[in-house]
Every structure is written in structure tokens, then in C-alpha cells.
């Protein structure tokens, strides 16, 4: 009886998950002293602006382009979406610089760094398809300027920047989904590994 229960995938998955990431480690009470620096705030600032991007995007999706182009509240939410993206990239780049100069990929944190790299690239693609989905002269200009370069790479066979419907779907379905999932994995990895110790830490905790 008990061995059958032991072998259930739910039981095994729970034991593995709670063994690797017990609640105290997932949501800790304290952090090492060196984390008391502004540079560690930029990961969370990136999450905060990302949440604003998603929420304002939800409202834009609910109301549609006729609304965001003409009404003043529509303009406001559209601007909120754009400026949250500006802050997202601003904080993401400072976060990236911080982690680069700390060499925060040390001590088995390669995947934390790499999920960050891929999230950065996916965010750029999301921003690009967003510019392509504005349905105004700006988006026409951007897409007609981009088409030859992108088609020359061969990506045009499945990623046609002149196809507004497709660009909008990439922007509001596929890419945000990937960005959210990657961000979740990124943050879980940070909790799993703990914050990388500074260079002059001779205790070997980085290993």
C-alpha cells in the first residue's frame, strides 16, 4: 500500500520540490548582509514594471485599437503600457550590468544567467512586435523598414512583419507567455541557488 503511494507521481513530485526548495528557502526571512545594496533592487524593479506592462496590456486587449487611438483614457493606458516597457528595459539593463560585473553566473548559476539572457532577447522581440502592432504610421514605417532584413534571414517564411494579425498574436500571446514563464524559472533558480556571494568571500560558499 505505502509503496504504491510512494510511487505516485504526485507524491514523488511533491517530495522532490519541497526537498529542493522548502518554503523557508523559497520565501526566506533574511538575506546575506551583502544583499543590502541598491543593485539588488533592479531584479525586483524589473518584475514590478513587467507586472505593469501585463496589466496595462490586458486593458488594451479588452478595449481594442479604436479605443486606444481615440479616447483620452485609451491614450493614457497606451502610454502607461509604453512607459512601463521603458522602465522594464531600463531596470533590466541595469540588472544585467550588475550581474555581469558580479559574474553572478559563478557557483552553478549558469542557468540563472542564461534564462536572463533569453528573457532579454524575448523581451526585445516582444517590444518589436508591439511596435509592429500599433496600427498607425509608425508601425507601417517600422515594419516596411524591417521586412527586407528579416526576410533575408529566412525567418520571413513564418514571421512576416507585414502581417498585422500575426504580429499582434506574437505580441499578445506567444511572446508574453514565453517571457512570463522564463521570468518565473529565472526567479525560482535564484531562490534555489541563493544569492551569489561576493568575489572576496573566502568561505567557499560560492561553490
Amino acid at each position: 500500500m505505502s509503496t504504491t503511494i510512494e510511487r505516485q507521481w504526485t507524491t514523488r513530485l511533491r517530495k522532490r520540490a519541497t526537498g529542493k526548495l522548502p518554503p523557508e528557502k523559497a520565501l526566506p526571512d533574511t538575506q546575506p548582509a551583502y544583499v543590502a545594496s541598491w543593485i539588488y533592487v533592479f531584479g525586483v524593479a524589473t518584475i514590478a514594471s513587467f507586472v505593469m506592462v501585463i496589466l496595462s496590456g490586458f486593458i488594451l486587449a479588452l478595449k481594442g485599437p479604436q479605443w486606444w487611438h481615440v479616447s483620452s483614457i485609451g491614450h493614457f493606458i497606451n502610454s502607461l503600457h509604453l512607459w512601463s516597457v521603458e522602465i522594464l528595459f531600463f531596470s533590466m539593463v541595469i540588472h544585467l550590468w550588475g550581474k555581469f560585473f558580479m559574474a553572478a553566473w559563478r557557483g552553478g548559476r549558469t542557468m540563472t544567467w542564461m534564462t536572463g539572457v533569453v528573457t532579454f532577447l524575448v523581451s526585445i522581440a516582444t517590444a518589436f512586435t508591439g511596435y509592429a502592432s500599433q496600427t498607425n504610421f509608425d508601425s507601417q514605417w517600422i515594419t516596411t523598414q524591417a521586412k527586407d532584413g528579416i526576410n533575408a534571414t529566412g525567418a520571413g517564411s513564418f514571421f512576416n512583419v507585414l502581417n498585422l494579425g500575426q504580429m499582434l498574436m506574437w505580441h499578445i500571446v506567444l511572446l508574453p507567455l514565453v517571457a512570463v514563464l522564463l521570468t518565473a524559472v529565472h526567479v525560482v533558480l535564484v531562490r534555489l541557488k541563493g544569492v551569489v556571494p561576493p568575489f572576496d568571500d573566502k568561505t567557499g560558499a560560492a561553490k
Binding site: 533574511t30 538575506q31 546575506p32 548582509a33 543590502a36 545594496s37 541598491w38 543593485i39 533592487v41 533592479f42 521603458e86 531600463f90 539593463v93 541595469i94 550590468w97 550588475g98 560558499a205
Partner: protein, 60 residues
């Protein structure tokens, strides 16, 4: 609201954009300002003391 409009008129978006062109480097002044601001905020993040740092107990 009127205050916000007067702020917006500080920067005229009429006419040609401004660009920096130096050898192969070519970018808008607006993007250049944003990059400068990022560098400044990065340096501030490194050197501005974090509140409560001194009183915090070390824990590992």
C-alpha cells in the same frame, strides 16, 4: 493637467530628429540620453548607501 501640457511643450517633437553620428556609431540623441541615465542610475545603485544597512544583522 495644464501643468503637464506645459511640460510636454518643453520638448518639441516637431521637425527632424536629432542624431549622433560618429564613425560607425549612429543613434538618436534621445537614446543617448537614456543610456547616460542608465549609467548614472547604475553608479548610484553601487554607491548610494542602502537604508538600514548598518543596523542590519548579518545572517547567512
Amino acid at each position: 493637467m495644464a501643468f503637464l501640457w506645459s511640460l510636454a511643450s518643453l520638448i518639441s517633437l516637431e521637425g527632424k530628429g536629432h542624431y549622433i553620428h560618429w564613425h560607425f556609431i549612429y543613434l538618436s540623441v534621445a537614446n543617448f540620453i537614456v543610456i547616460l541615465l542608465m549609467v548614472l542610475v547604475f553608479l548610484a545603485a553601487l554607491f548610494v548607501p542602502f537604508p538600514g544597512r548598518a543596523s542590519r544583522k548579518e545572517s547567512k
